[in-house]
Symmetry: C2
Subunit: 468 residues, 2 copies
């Protein structure tokens, strides 16, 4: 018995894919992914139309999807993140049905609850056996964790695993179990390793970034949360990594032993694990080669899936036990609502990913962002769109000062007592506009190009087309 079929086309036919259905993809191969394009080309070739693509994220390597939109092969997109190349095209209003943006926790929730059923999941995997057990840890296209693909495997009606590395049965340490897989297809390459993970992720050397990072580490130090058992999530951006670097120094100096680091994991978090800052890393996605090597070999570096990471549909998720998260923003408004979906001109260039989930789950959610980018201020009266509601944001750190959400009276006092430059978010806005001038008011079009769905499956906001 074997589930290996001869070609992708045969697997698509066997799975019974038809007009109007939903197909799904994950984004662990990031900007190196060959599989989404490969599959959509085969589907187009088979003459199948009017598909919904539910992809955990869309990168610019997926730009050929724009042709499939033009040819009505793809008529709707659901994703948690959309890079700026594809995003800019969507923002001009090329699709009749708005894109639906979810969060990394909300997507698997909505899949599990049957709100966004998947007919056929196409799951690119760096290693699989002939029965469909699959892992991201082995092979030339190794990406580490396969956390975002697991809900697709568990709940899709048909599941096709696509690999360039068929290993002997039984494959150990699977992220996806054979119990969920219908067909296995082998291809020459599922991706370009150079685009899948970066060689290294680097700490910022930019002076503004270093000031923000230093403030961020001080906020954590004085928050009352930095003690044995501390847990932490941060992104792969240069300033976030610098904040982690300062935090590491404090933890080692004060001999604080944290419990876990969470999220998309970089080599920098691996170094913190190895230095004893954390007992465990809980890894839903690996950002660089060092993280991939660590998840393969270090039993304290643990793969989790998106349900476990952040899904509110189940009894709990790891984000519910998280102390501190550092997140970014393209805009934040005076009610602390954060935009990570569009740039300041309104063009789609991102998405929540795990932003809203970590913000909702953590005890302290900190945004670090410069006061302005390209002379456009970060703090606005109202964000273009709400990616994460202000009620879940605790602190904004900029190089020009730190604004604490007024709901956190005790934290404000702690940080003031520590001598940190605390100011009202409206004062921070005025201080910024004294440098940049007042930005022009937004000019939104009247056509909805995307709906933002909260992690709980509720409508959160709408993104309109951009009027130049």
């Amino acid at each position: 018995m074997s589930k290996v079929v001869k070609s992708l086309k045969e697997a698509i036919r066997n799975a019974g894919l038809k007009d109007g259905m939903t197909v799904s993809f994950h984004h662990h191969l990031r900007n190196g992914d060959y599989v989404l394009n490969m599959v959509m080309d085969e589907i187009a070739d088979l003459g199948i139309k009017d598909l919904t693509v539910n992809a955990s994220s869309i990168f610019d390597v997926h730009a050929p999807i724009l042709n499939h939109i033009e040819n009505n092969v793809v008529t709707q997109i659901l994703c948690n993140y959309m890079a700026s190349g594809v995003g800019r095209a969507i923002s001009t209003g090329i699709m009749e049905k708005p894109v639906q943006f979810r969060t990394h926790g909300g997507r698997p929730s909505d899949i599990a609850l049957g709100r966004t059923p998947i007919d056929v999941a196409f799951i690119a995997v760096p290693a699989a056996d002939n029965m469909g057990n699959a892992s991201g840890k082995f092979g030339p296209s190794a990406c580490g964790s396969l956390g975002y693909a697991v809900a697709d495997a568990m709940f899709a009606k048909k599941v096709i695993v696509i690999t360039d590395n068929l290993m002997p049965y039984p494959l150990p340490d699977w992220a996806i179990s054979e119990t969920y897989v219908d067909y296995v297809v082998t291809v020459d390459a599922i991706g370009d390793p150079k685009g899948i993970v970066s060689g290294t992720t680097k700490i910022t050397r930019d002076p503004v970034g270093l000031v923000m990072a230093s403030y961020a580490a001080q906020v954590i130090k004085h928050s009352g949360l930095l003690k044995d058992g501390f847990s932490f999530q941060t992104g792969a951006g240069g300033a976030s990594l610098a904040a982690a670097s300062f935090l590491k120094e404090i933890m080692l100096k004060e001999k604080i032993r944290g419990s876990f680091g969470l999220g998309g994991i970089t080599g920098y978090m691996v170094e913190m694990l190895e230095a004893g800052c954390f007992e465990k890393l809980m890894d839903v996605q690996c950002f660089d080669l060092k993280a991939v090597e660590s998840i393969r070999s270090n039993p304290n570096h643990i793969e989790i899936n998106a349900l476990q990471y952040a899904s509110p549909a189940f009894k709990s998720a790891v984000v519910d036990s998280l102390d501190v998260v550092i997140l970014g923003a393209t805009e934040i408004d005076t009610d602390f609502n954060v935009n990570v979906h569009t740039d300041s001109n309104g063009y789609i260039m991102g998405g929540s990913g795990g932003h809203s989930d970590a913000a909702a789950g953590s005890k302290l959610c900190m945004i670090i962002a410069p006061m302005f980018r390209a002379r456009l201020p970060i703090v606005r009266d109202r964000v273009h769109c709400v990616s994460t509601p202000g009620q879940d944001i605790d602190v904004l750190v900029t190089q020009g000062g730190i604004a604490v959400n007024p709901k956190n009276a005790e934290l404000t006092e702690r940080l003031k007592a520590a001598g940190l430059p605390i100011l009202d978010i409206r004062a921070l806005k005025e201080k910024t506009e004294a440098i940049t001038g007042t930005p022009d008011p937004l000019r939104k079009g009247d056509r909805a190009v995307a709906q933002i769905v909260s992690r709980y499956g509720e409508p959160l906001d709408t993104i309109y087309n951009v009027v130049d």
Copy 2:
């Protein structure tokens, strides 16, 4: 945030348990289990009645359930195995509703498909953290794999984890994820380690057992299946282990490298792994301390759950890739139907466990059993009850000769060519009866005491009360 509640009673109340509901238990603590009795006593104390108990197996340590049956706290039992003490009482007809026997693969199928919904799962675990991540590998009551508890956790409406070993969050290497757990309760002890696993499992020294074991190894050797990539399952009985021992010698001598050993795992299978006979062990249940130590420390000794092991409800299970399984029987009939539920007098003293599942999945299913026990012949015209249908049984090995199911013409020729003592199953029956005499015909009562449900969820046979 924490899911730890103060007492079992509080957890039962919070879970909303009411008259007429279904509660579930697993059997990894075997005859050392304290938890089923502890929970049922609390439930009785709360005055809750008319419950269905869905337990993966009932051991004789669970005899207090008979009192709860008498008091109408328990009005139905679903299980995959029932030891002879409780079984004998059930066989006298003390319950109005017949016991439903399933298989280790069929039980999680029927749970997953909603055929046997569980209201509250009570899951005894040797280690848990405050959010419910749970493992069988650590702690004073370590039992190794928690494979049979996973479907209960995934599909029960409410899940209560009960442990005597609360560990720091996040517990690594969980069998059950926090995503499924509602409440965590700590107790002094979940079981008696002496009853949970045996110190060692021993190979038979009985001459009859050794003859059967030798024949069994020869059947495998000449079956055409014993080559690189070979996979194997056997039980913990003395003769089965002796067969594994002979098989090991052959594999080492002929330098055959198998792919995996499967099933309930003994120290003997661990030795085969360590000697290089297999690349991996796939372990749904640990039978002895050596297996527990190995699953904790050897990454090639892999925990699987009952869905992965044997469930026909999903896309595939490991049994579907199994080459050879050695199984037992209390009776086998001339159509090769096997009884493992009752003794030859008709009293319940066992159950399918994984018998039917491994038989259905494997390429070669071999029964080893002596020609007679206590002067009662094994081969019958008709078994008391069909536990595993004859169509899934390939070979019967006894000390008096080997009977091959007539459907296997090629195998018969291979074994004859190898000089093995092959004879028709009817001839084997006559040969046995020449020694034992013809057994008295069965005297079944007219009251159904148990229904046997096939691994596919279909009625397979009925067990009637015993008339003395």
